[in-house]
Amino acid sequence: MRTLTPWRALLLGLCAIALVGTPAAPRGAAAGTIKGTVVLKGATPEIKKLAVTIDQYVCGKEENPEDLVVSPQGGIRSAVVWLDKPPAAASGEALPSTTSMDQKECMFAPRLVVVPAGGKIDFLNSDRLLHNLHATPTANPPFNRTQPKGRTITISFSHPEIIRVTCDLHSWMRGWVVVAEHPFYAFTNGAGEFELRGLPAGRYTLKIWQERLGTIARDVVVGDQEPTAVTVEMPAR
């Protein structure tokens, strides 16, 4: 290392990036896979914290809006990605039919959940105060429930839809329930990465939705050997 030149250092750095950027394909994958990243196109918008004036002993004095969370590399969190037209023959890994969404320190946690059509969500309240679940979906029935601490409210969703859930008592609270039509739904992690598995090779159209940026579409061709890497750029608006 005594004679490590800048050129060698650069070469080593490039190799490292190449290794990280092309993860090995999972062995034994029967069908094609899409490994993708959703990134923000354009400057990351400045985060404006919301001042909290009520129930500060639980909610704190300010809240992060979290309606658009972007990683330092530009990856968008909690963007939902699904196939516009799922393959008729293939059935992907089934989504869990029951999932839960908590309310903690006056925020929905997680902010976004995905359930299959006909699935249920257990809404929880960990805060020692009243919350009030309120949603007015179009395909599913609306609900408006007051919830004390420790009480679980379970709600079933029959029709595919993206539903916004709010709290009447805490105006900044936003939660999203995505009722999936088919198994090929995914949502991005903190780095903006997602993965759709069990796809037969072919040409597909991806739909990408984010609560603030709206919905865009993206065509993608999936092979049956290597995972298909895709980077989706969502323009800021």
Binding site: I54, D55, Q56, Y57, V58, R128, L129, L130, N132, N144, R145, T146, Q147, P148, K149, R151, D168, L169
Partner: protein, 525 residues
């Protein structure tokens, strides 16, 4: 002041005096003591202020908590009110008002919980437990209202919410009572602390003043006492009472001073004693000397008188012989006869001088005071000595101011004085002139004899009026004279209450003068 020292304060004054420390240290210690008391006052009052501030702060907090408790009670009442409203109106808005009030209750309770003193925690936990039930009930009522289950909502209100709220109300009531009790005790404590602080301050102020007064009195008197002692002691010394001693209790600079004074006093006593012995010895000696001197003078006076009688006979017969009353004097005898006469006269003059001097010294010379004319005296002297001046070829003038009135004094003696001075002047002047003049100046007559003679050396001027003194022995041989003239002149002038003086420059001449009062009283002044 002595009464003060006799009082109980005298003991500390002496005790402070006895402390083996310098004045500087004692004063510093006094000031330091007072300063320390002031620091103590400051510390105590600071502590009181801090304690009062802490209690006031606690009082404020309790006050705020009472306010919150009132808010809780208000929130309860409002919940009941809004619940009734919601039951009547069956609207979403009124439901959310209930919920809002319930959360406000929670918030206020949480604030109360964080600041409450430990003894109120249990009460607050009880309220909290009841509130958890109230929350569930409120949620049930709200949901029942939304589901249009009015009867269920009414039941929940009556059977659950109302008892819970009554429970909470009574708990909050106890909390308020506890807080108010606490506030009352805090107020009492603050008042007590203020009263205590006031009396402490007053006590300290009195103590400081007392300490300052006592320390000031004791320290200053421990200095004043020895100073007074010194004063008295020094007055004794000034009055000539030596050998006393002074005792002060001080072991400081004043003590050292007292020791030095005692030593000085002893020394003065010793010197005084010695001096007294010496003085007594001297007085004895002096008496004896005076006796001897008087005996000598008397002897001389007697002797002179005895000597004059045979000498007068010699001079008389010599004169008769020279006047050839005994027949013609052979030419070869005339010269020896004249020699006899000249020497005889000289001897007579000598004897007269000695007689005068011894009379003066024996105190037996008395002035014959009468009126005399200054002009006459001047004329006689001039006439008597004119021939001598002519013989030596000297100019000789005598004058007296014309405005001099008749004077009083011993004219014969004044003439003798003037004669002496003029005779001396003629004797010691070889060429030039001799002048006599007299003037009157404010009741004093000044006789002056000026010459252009040999002059007198400066170092001899002082001695020139002493007995048997001429400037040197060669002068006696060259000029003759008894050496008593100036001395007698001086004594005579002084008998008149006057004085005599001389101004002289060697080789240029001399100016002798004497001053006598115009009207001498002739006493033995």
């Amino acid at each position: 002041m002595m009464a003060l020292l006799a009082s109980p304060l005298g003991a500390p004054v002496r005790a402070v005096a006895r402390i083996r420390a310098s004045v500087h240290v004692k004063l510093l210690a006094g000031f330091l003591l007072i300063t320390l008391l002031f620091i103590a006052i400051t510390a105590v009052s600071l502590r009181t202020v801090t304690e009062t501030a802490r209690q006031t702060n606690l009082l404020d907090q309790a006050h705020v908590r009472v306010g919150w408790s009132r808010l809780i009670e208000h929130a309860l009442a409002m919940q009941m009110h809004f619940t009734s409203m919601a039951l009547l109106a069956q609207s979403e808005d009124s439901v959310s008002l209930i919920l809002r009030e319930n959360n406000r209750f929670n918030d206020t309770l949480a604030r109360l919980e964080t600041t409450a003193p430990p003894e109120e925690r249990a009460l607050i936990q009880a309220i909290r437990g009841a509130q958890d039930d109230a929350m569930a009930t409120v949620a049930d009522i709200a949901n029942a209202l939304r589901d249009r289950r009015t009867a269920d909502a009414m039941t929940a209100l009556r059977t659950r919410q109302e008892p819970i709220y009554q429970k909470i109300e009574s708990l909050v009531g106890s909390l308020v009572a506890a807080e108010e009790k606490r506030m009352a005790s805090l107020r009492a404590s603050i008042e007590a602390a203020q009263g205590r602080s006031l009396s402490q301050m007053a006590g300290f102020a009195v103590a400081v003043v007392a300490v300052a007064l006592i320390a000031g009195f004791v320290i200053s008197w421990s200095f004043i006492l020895p100073v007074r002692g010194f004063h008295g002691f020094l007055s004794q010394v000034a009055e000539g009472r030596f050998g006393g001693s002074i005792a002060v209790p001080n072991r400081d600079e004043f003590g050292e001073l007292a020791e030095r004074m005692n030593w000085m006093s002893g020394e003065l006593r010793r010197l005084d004693d010695e001096q007294r012995v010496a003085a007594a010895t001297l007085r004895g000696l002096n008496d004896r000397l005076e006796l001897a001197s008087r005996a000598k003078s008397e002897f001389l006076a007697n002797m002179s008188h005895e000597l004059r009688t045979p000498l007068n006979a010699i001079l008389g017969f010599t004169e008769i012989m020279l006047d050839e009353l005994y027949g013609e004097v052979p030419p070869n005898l005339r010269e020896p006869l004249v020699d006899i006469q000249t020497n005889g006269r000289h001897l007579l003059r000598l004897i007269n001088d000695v007689l005068d001097l011894s009379k003066i010294e024996a105190g037996r010379l008395e002035l014959g005071v009468e009126e005399y004319s200054v002009q006459e005296i001047v004329d006689v002297v001039h006439t008597s000595l004119k021939s001598l001046a002519i013989e030596k070829g000297l100019a000789f003038n005598a004058s007296a101011a014309p405005d001099i009135p008749p004077a009083r004094g011993d004219g014969r003696r004044i003439m003798q004085c003037l004669m002496n001075l003029a005779g001396n002047a003629l004797k010691f002047t070889h060429h030039g002139r001799v002048e006599i003049d007299v003037r009157l100046d404010g009741g004093w007559l000044t006789y002056r004899v000026s010459d252009t003679g040999i002059g007198i050396p400066k170092e001899e001027v002082e001695n020139i009026f002493a007995e048997f003194r001429q400037v040197d022995t060669t002068i006696t041989r060259e000029y003759g004279g008894t050496g008593l003239g100036l001395s007698i002149t001086k004594r005579l002038v002084e008998l008149h209450g006057g004085r005599i003086g001389v101004e002289s420059e060697i080789g240029k001449g001399s100016r002798f003068f004497f001053t006598v009062p115009l009207h001498a009283d002739g006493g033995h002044a």
